[in-house]
Symmetry: D2
Subunit: 334 residues, 4 copies
């Protein structure tokens, strides 16, 4: 087993970055070498004996790998620099998730900063494990895509969705998903006692990422309708998914299909029939939990939940890291 992998974290003062550090300090094969933060430079990193350094002062020649928990647009250039220095990279930003610069520009309304890096293995191990294993650069998926794709995967892989029928995802995220920078919409008074949709229909940037991955598995899948909501909780994410099944497959068989698909997956739990997936099943864990409701053929309702900062961000990034370095996949995660 590898020992003492030297690791740096960029953007370690954001919510995903803080969870990442919490996981990494317990990781038996990781030595945390630096943590960057441009807003908190010089302050001590909570819980460990390091101080935040500015991004440009991080010493890439001292590390074997870096995690990038940076805003989109800022992340890809650091990834390029790290790769040039021979450092392996897990990117938690959106910069490397879309396969083409054109797709990136369409959803992020800005040219891709480093198109030469694309495409990059999409770091969702349950779907893409072979491409992640041993890779030098991986794009860890966002929280909405992870939760949605794991909820759909057994159907997509087997072609059991009715061709061209819409895939409806009513999603709800805890406020940490909106980032740590204070904004009007994350002010306590605005969120407390409230519940609100945002970017409904097909306006949210994650639609591009989700559809790209859906189509890779099932090119005949229908339109994605995706409405996220802001939940008055700190962490946790639910994707409530409504699909129409192909006539060859009955909703009553979904439970078996999902259990079979995920039976060997340590970080995905399919709940027994009748039990509903809730945020409490996953908050502060690195797992995804799924429950199924066979409404009436051909309609199936799926509830998929993750902790948006764990399986939806930091936990998954470490899962990717473990695969890249040939470590046991769930090391430091269970």
């Amino acid at each position: 087993m590898a020992e003492g992998i030297e690791v740096g974290v960029y953007g370690g003062a954001g919510y995903a970055g803080m969870d990442l550090i919490e996981i990494l300090v317990k990781h038996p094969c990781v030595e945390l070498t630096f943590v960057t933060s441009n807003s908190f430079t010089g302050e001590s990193v909570p819980g460990i004996d390091l101080r935040y350094v500015a991004s440009e002062d991080a010493q890439l020649d001292e590390v074997d790998a870096v995690f990038l928990a940076l805003p989109h647009k800022a992340s890809a250039p650091v990834a390029a620099k790290a790769r040039a220095a021979g450092v392996r990279v897990v990117d938690l930003s959106a910069d490397l998730r879309l396969d083409t610069p054109e797709a990136y520009e369409r959803w992020y309304k800005t040219p891709h900063p480093n198109p030469e890096l694309l495409p990059v293995p999409y770091g969702l191990p349950e779907i893409n494990r072979d491409r992640i294993r041993g890779a030098n650069l991986v794009a860890a998926p966002g929280c909405y895509p992870t939760t949605t794709l794991l909820g759909l995967y057994p159907l997509l892989k087997n072609g059991w969705l009715l061709r061209d029928a819409p895939i409806i995802v009513d999603a709800k995220s805890g406020v940490s998903g909106a980032g740590r920078e204070p904004k009007q919409n994350t002010h306590f008074v605005e969120v407390f006692g409230n519940f609100s949709p945002y970017n409904p229909g097909r306006a949210h940037r994650h639609v591009g990422e989700i559809e790209q991955e859906i189509k890779k598995i099932d090119p005949d899948a229908g339109l994605l309708i995706f409405t996220p909501h802001l939940l008055p909780v700190d962490r946790g994410l639910m994707a409530s998914i409504y699909v129409t099944l192909d006539s060859e497959f009955s909703a009553r068989d979904a439970q078996d299909l999902y259990e079979h698909t995920y039976c060997e997956e340590p970080l995905v739990t399919v709940l027994p029939p009748g039990q509903q997936a809730t945020l409490k099943h996953v908050v502060r864990s690195n797992t995804c939990a799924i429950s199924l409701t066979p409404v009436a053929d051909p309609y199936l309702h799926i509830t998929s939940v993750t902790d948006n900062l764990r399986k939806g961000a930091a936990g998954q990034a470490v899962q990717d890291f473990n695969l890249m370095f040939g470590l046991p996949e769930t090391m430091a995660l269970v």
Copy 2:
């Protein structure tokens, strides 16, 4: 104008009952005569100069009208007794909402206590105003049905839903909707930081009530798929509705249709394009707010919100009462 209508409230210590009293004390034509509560008998009613009396001690001969905020099964017998005494009744329970004893037994798993009372005018004024006006007995709808039906009504009335396409309602309710009696699932620690579906698919009792009313307006409407969730807030309810439109109607025209349908309705607000309905739009008000997202033809997404204790219960009951007594419909409500 009527003056001094003597009114009694049954079940005045529950959450809906308390909101009802809050509204009625400000109602210029109402004299509150008694308030019943079997759990709090003898204690003073918050905010007014009355004490709770036991249900059986309430003097029906002293009142012109009663509101029944009682559990289902307990409500219908009181309604029957009140009608026999010539007292007008607004029933907030589920007992009189379904048109037949068979439907009641199917959804409530118990024989109807007073089948002779059925059917009763369904107290959703925006849809059913003429039947409510002047009635002696009205069944005020539940919070989920009110919010869902108002969100669908303009499409149903005009037949713009694609025949047989499912109507998907992902609903979320504040905890007061579960009643005031302490239960495990309403314990603060269970709800705080959590979000959970319950009775998903077609298992919730309100499915019967919603489908009954949908079919009255549009017999060709498709299957209702309805998944309610418990939101960690005290009050407020959102119905997130996903529908497929008939090819003759474009999602882009929905905004006009809804604005036109509700332009004269004082208690329904259609938000301008691009603005999303949130709980804050309606909490502590007696209104319903609706926002529309034309996803892509033939798909339309509708967000409809109410305060579950106001337009979803007590406010609507007073709106019914005003119509029954020929008073201005929004008296004490705006």
Copy 3:
């Protein structure tokens, strides 16, 4: 009775300003003429048919009175300008609460912008009604001082506090007290599930204001020890007060003393013995509620609660306004 008093509100997009507008639109003698906000200029004021104007575009010659819900330092110059134009002023900021420029500079670390205005009647009607009545310029007290002073007043007025014994106030405020501008410490994720003291001991600016008013009533009162905390709720404020009594007065007599002192006060409620004041007693009302616990002579514990945006800000400002204009004191407030 006065009719059609033309009123302007400065700073109408903050939390206190929004509550102020909510009260003023229901005030039968007020015509709302303008509302300023430099951050929201041009946007419509929620709930009314006006748009926010920039502070410098407000027409002072069109109004009889203004409310200033501005940050300290920005408020006094507007007050001076309004007075010069003959307009009456209720100032909700801290600028005019301290009687001398020296005290202001000590607590606010900046020279007073308009020392010529000082001193100004302190707008706590239950203590200072005569000076407010008919005044042209009033300084409405802050939320912590209001809640603390009303909790202490009956003892101070009668000299029943043990000379030089400390007055200990452990205070807790809802997050709206920290203002609407987004900051790290009001981010939902920082506040949710947390509870935190700030400016403990004697560091909070309100210490100066509270002590000034205490000493006016009882020059022998002891040192104020005051520790505020941030509560994870949107609104509501509690002052938990611990005092030592003079040997001539027994804690057992406090209930009578408080009931007697406040029996004619419409906006102060003394709860019956054994009942504890909680935020729910006052949230969204314009009242202060007080409960008393005679621990054991000479120790008395007092709990005083207000809604920090109502009796602690906007409600009290309107109470002052009513007194200034000779209107019934609780108009629009009950």
Copy 4:
């Protein structure tokens, strides 16, 4: 080191019991043999491969030690039975914390069920380590006493409190402290947006336990004034302590005193000057954090925080267990 200590948990479905199990499953020297719950008998214990058994079906002859997370009055008889069977006991209930049956009857209004067991070592390791080490029966303290006593200990031990001056503790607890059984006062709707004192002054049962332990360390300490409040969070507890110092000790020296007293304690953190202890410092950890504010001689303000289910219950019980069995004190706790 001991290996495979067989352990049973009584009352494993309450909030403290659930945290206890969460800690014990990670404890390298513990084998969990049974978990009792009379309400959930037969259901599976979350997260482990056991089912709840009824209390009377637990096999005491299969275990080396038991933890009792039972209601008071029910716990002592089980402790007696376990001791008779030669099983070591950590009791988390209140039954064995008071040294005499008389004190128990005074505070719990019922005769002590097993007076022959008294007195028992009080399981607060930082104060009482020597008596816990190797003991067969330990009474783990409550959450309020733990947090209060650790906040006072350095002063008590050195006699730096002014003789007979009152010790004022304004305490706040998360709702899990009230237990898992649903009651009106723990209903989500009652707690949400609220904050409320209960049993103020000297009425709370923990006053007896706190005063007993204070007097053992400093017989001259003054009266305890203790007002607990219910905080709208799930877990976390703060004791805000206000004391008067002896003239020989200055508040400015408190920081040194506390740092010195606790420098070797792994589970107590004294925060640097100027930093305030908040719930976030301790939630889900097994530590106590303390911050100090030297108000002005002779007054000192102390903020002490714990997670009421961890250092205030389950974590501390395991700390006691480790001492009893000669294991490293923080095993499974850091």
